[in-house]
């Protein structure tokens, strides 16, 4: 059965068509399952999307953020290069005389063969490392409930890749030897590994060489086709899911949640309570997952023993989608209902059986999972969509949240303090309200913390002092200000959020405001990235951005030295959500005498303080420790005098963390505005 000769070529052709047909059929079914999802427009900015594919798929930019990612880099590129070679191999199967060198010339072909050799060798090394990690090192991130099945899947894949490479080398080595004796055949000597392997076969006769070549060739091509069939059923589904998922990734700000249409009178349900109520893109996310576990490795909930693990969420959703999706497709058409007990899967409730309630409520929306996912899976939106269902349809949420929601409704702040006292913090300070003077450059949107929380009021005061010092023209809304509703939205109460957003936009726009400064990253993200959904189109700045700018322009000048050691905590909604990393560091470095250390988990790896996603207002009873305690400990390992923050919620969480350890005297928590004001104004404490 020499490849490419009659009748082997006919046989190969039939097998090739059958395998591809089966593959396409399964892919089509996956596509139909994905299309069970709801519509979502992800077809804008095609150029930017393609650029993303180049960077994140071919450049593997996110994959190689971690050392183990380099293994993937070589396997990925090995796969690409082998696939280029496979075209030639398959061509030979149809007609034995097919060869690249006839088209590309011997030089280019030599180079290609060399590349193939090198990448094949690299893949073998990478696979060895992968096996070592999975079965010897066994990192936490590779652990699943169905560990056996997951490991088995991984082993099959690794074995198949290994096998196809070994067989490829075999085919190459024997082909090299055959090419020596036959005129009209050519095999580049530059492919030195293949050539090296040929020594194993050098004693064979031409007859047995041909037999061996035939064996290797058939083996290699059959493994490839088998792999093709296996892909859609395995975790290697990411091969199909990841590239489109990178293409269709969320562009622009990661910080904006989807606006729900609450005006739709025909809507029967809100939020997501069944898998097919997710959008097609959210379902594509599930296909893209590679089960690398980086999400959970960075998740503050997972790392403190909460019932939430993003990798498990995605894994369970994927399993559920595959079974229920087939069911639904079968019902749509005349196809047979799949075997097994699919009714069981259909009867499973998304919220309750697949995702647990306490899992959904454990998410701080810190964005670490999204930030570190090599294939741009959007975990948070799924949690929020399910929360939306629970809140809007079932009025189901942690009991302590109800009071907070009522407080927002009645007094537009989570504490329920009288709305008329919102501007009282500014009494006696040199600050105007927009009602007094609307001809100012900036609105200082103070937010609930800065207005009502005793601790955060000090940050607001410091900011007022700094803005005045720098001669910035600004005003506040005072008692007219309202809560931005960010937290209500993340808790899933989109109705309440939209009510609040519409009111606040109306107030702010009534003064013709163009630029806004906030001291709270949550309000910052919400006003900047979410309010455009409601007609709030402003330039929004976090105070760290403003302070860095004022320092740069020389409008603020630091005078007094501060002989202290500081660590800085990047707030999720400032850093990961809005990429404001350098400005706070610029502020810190402007303070003379202040020694600064970066925490291990800093910048985009920063570890949440535990307050985001509405967690500030929920009891933290699950897990083996509190998130703020874990984060405080991380900060304390560097033995700082000061923990620098830029968020009122982070301030509270760290101060609580220090109090728990009786460390509140030795280590202080300061917003950067508070530190800056000390070095500028000698009168201030």
């Amino acid at each position: 059965m020499q490849p490419g000769h009659f009748p082997a070529n006919i046989l190969f052709f039939l097998i090739f068509i059958a395998a591809n047909g089966f593959f396409l059929f399964t892919v089509y079914r996956l596509y139909r399952i994905m299309r069970l999802g709801q519509p979502e427009d992800r077809f804008d900015h095609i150029g930017e999307r393609l650029e993303g594919v180049a960077t994140f798929v071919f450049g593997q930019r996110r994959v190689i953020r971690e050392p183990s990612g380099w293994g993937h880099f070589f396997i990925f590129w090995g796969f690409v290069i082998i696939t280029i070679g496979s075209i030639e191999t398959f061509g030979v199967g149809i007609y034995h005389g097919f060869a690249y060198w006839k088209f590309l010339g011997k030089g280019l072909t030599s180079l290609l063969y060399l590349l193939q050799d090198l990448f094949c060798a690299a893949v073998i090394v990478a696979l060895g490392v992968a096996l070592y990690r999975r079965f010897v090192v066994r990192p936490e991130r590779l652990k699943y409930e169905d560990q056996k099945a997951v490991n088995q899947d991984a082993s099959i894949i690794i074995a198949l890749i290994l096998l196809l490479i070994v067989l490829l080398f075999g085919a190459r080595a024997t082909e090299y030897l055959l090419a020596q004796g036959e005129p009209g055949r050519y095999f580049p000597r530059l492919a030195f590994i293949s050539v090296g392997c040929s020594y194993l076969f050098s004693a064979l006769t031409a007859e047995s060489l041909r037999a061996w070549y035939s064996f290797f060739w058939w083996g290699h091509t059959m493994v490839i086709l088998g792999f093709l069939i296996y892909i859609p059923f395995s975790k290697h589904l990411h091969l199909l899911g990841a590239i489109p998922n990178v293409f269709f990734r969320r562009l622009g700000s990661v910080g904006a949640l989807r606006k729900m249409d609450l005006e739709d009178e025909t809507a029967e349900t809100y939020g997501v309570s069944t898998i097919e109520e997710f959008t097609w893109k959210q379902l594509l996310d599930l296909y893209a997952c590679t089960e690398c576990g980086r999400c959970s490795d960075n998740c503050p909930a997972t790392l403190t023993g909460k019932p939430l693990s993003p990798k498990l969420t995605i894994h369970r959703l994927k399993e559920h989608l595959q079974v229920k999706g087939k069911m639904l497709i079968a019902q749509q058409g005349s196809a047979e209902i799949p075997a097994g007990n699919p009714e069981d899967e259909k009867a499973k409730v998304l919220i309750g059986d697949i995702c647990r309630h306490d899992e959904l409520w454990s998410c701080t929306t810190c964005g670490n999972c999204v930030e570190h996912c090599p294939v741009f899976i959007e975990h948070i939106d799924k949690y929020v969509d399910m929360r939306r269902y629970l809140v809007l349809m079932e009025s189901s949420f942690p009991a302590e949240v109800q009071n907070v929601m009522r407080n927002w409704e009645t007094n537009s702040n989570p504490w329920g303090l009288g709305f008329a006292t919102r501007g009282d913090w500014a009494k006696g300070l040199a600050v105007k309200t927009l009602a007094e003077d609307s001809h100012v450059e900036y609105l200082f949107y103070v937010g609930c913390g800065g207005s009502f929380d005793e601790r955060a009021k000090k940050i607001s005061s410091a900011m007022v002092a700094l803005l005045n010092e720098a001669g910035v023209s600004f005003a506040i809304l005072g008692a007219e200000e309202k809560c931005c509703g960010e937290t209500a939205r993340r808790i899933g109460n989109e109705y309440l959020f939209q009510t609040m957003a519409v009111e606040l936009v109306e107030i702010i726009n009534s003064y013709g405001v163009k630029k806004i400064i906030t001291t709270c990253p949550h309000g910052y993200n919400c006003l900047k990235n979410e309010y455009p959904q409601f007609g709030g189109e402003w330039e929004v700045y976090h105070h760290n951005e403003v302070l860095a700018q004022l320092l740069g322009d020389g409008l603020l000048q630091t005078k007094l030295p501060l002989d202290k050691h500081l660590v800085f905590h990047d707030s999720c909604y400032l850093g990961r959500y809005n990429s404001v990393y350098d400005q706070p560091r610029k502020v810190i470095k402007s303070i003379p005498g202040l020694r600064f250390s970066e925490m291990d988990r800093s910048r985009n790896k920063s570890f949440c303080c535990g307050a985001g996603g509405g967690r500030m207002w929920m009891e933290e009873t699950l897990g083996d420790r509190k998130i703020n305690d874990a984060r405080t400990e991380q900060a304390l390992t560097l033995k700082p005098d000061i923990i620098g923050v830029s968020c009122p919620f982070c301030t509270t969480m760290f101060e609580d963390g220090l109090k728990e350890r009786n460390m509140e005297e030795q280590v202080r928590v300061y917003d950067l505005a508070e530190l800056l004001v000390r070095t500028i104004n000698p009168g201030k404490k």
Partner: protein, 263 residues
């Protein structure tokens, strides 16, 4: 089973109260209005009977147009229908006047049970529920922290000093509710609930519709009149005494004697 819940709209408890012109009432501008919390417990209790026994729940309230919002809130929680007595002539009613208006409205309604908070948190008079029961010759069961309805009887529990007493009354009856948020935990309206509430029937009635004249109720008919209203004196900021312990003690005694005049 038909339940009518008497609901009063009151200023939010965090409201910064200001005395209105004339010094006999509060300035009602710029106030956030809420359902009086005990009335909200009554709504919740009624809705629990709606869930368990299919009771029909009607909300009855009196006051100006703004009260509609509170009635809609109760409808969003799940009540079936609302009635508002909106008549400027009823303004300034004392407890008895309000009870007369509500009793007159109840006269034309079908009910087995009337629920309301044992008091409203604005004027804290603890009168209206009891007076309505009296005017309508109904048994009154006060300060319920639990309720059961079966076989034409209503059974409640009411806390007394260190214990609970169980009371039973025959229907129709009026029950006032006590307890705390932790006991009743009024439900949070779902979005479909809010949507539906917009379309639920809400009737508005005047005193004339109820066969009452302005002289019976309102400021004219009031037997108890507010003669004046004043805010409590603003609390002074605390003062920190300086010096060593001996000096501080001396100063403290002097201040308690001379300024506070308590020793």
């Amino acid at each position: 089973m038909n339940i009518v819940v008497l609901l009063k709209q009151v200023p939010d408890t965090e409201t910064k109260i200001r005395i209105g012109a004339g010094g006999k009432s509060i300035d009602t501008s710029d106030i956030k209005w809420i359902i009086s919390p005990y009335d909200e417990y009554a709504v919740e209790a009624a809705l629990r009977l709606q869930d368990s026994a299919g009771a029909k729940v009607t909300i009855l309230s009196m006051g100006p147009e703004r009260v509609v919002e509170s009635i809609r809130t109760a409808l969003a929680m799940g009540a079936d229908h609302g009635v508002l007595v909106d008549d400027p002539a009823s303004e300034g009613s004392d407890g008895l006047g309000k009870a007369k208006v509500l009793a007159a409205a109840l006269g034309s309604m079908d009910f087995d049970l009337i629920f309301c908070g044992h008091r409203a948190v604005d004027d804290d008079e603890n009168q209206v529920g009891i007076m309505v029961a009296e005017l309508m010759s109904l048994p009154h069961l006060g300060l319920a922290v639990s309720i059961e309805v079966a076989d034409g009887k209503v059974t409640i529990q009411r806390p007394i000093e260190g214990a609970k007493v169980t009371l039973e009354g025959t229907l129709p009856a009026l029950v006032t509710f006590g307890g705390a948020h932790a006991i009743w935990n009024p439900r949070y309206a779902s979005l479909p609930g809010i949507m539906k509430a917009k379309k639920k029937p809400l009737e508005t009635k005047t005193l004339a519709d109820l066969g009452l004249s302005a002289a019976d109720v309102g400021a004219q008919g009031a037997k108890v009149k507010v003669t004046s209203m004043e805010l409590p004196a603003e609390r002074q900021a605390g003062r920190k005494l300086e010096g060593d312990t001996g000096e501080k003690a001396k100063e403290l005694v002097r201040l308690l004697h001379e300024e506070a005049k308590v020793i």
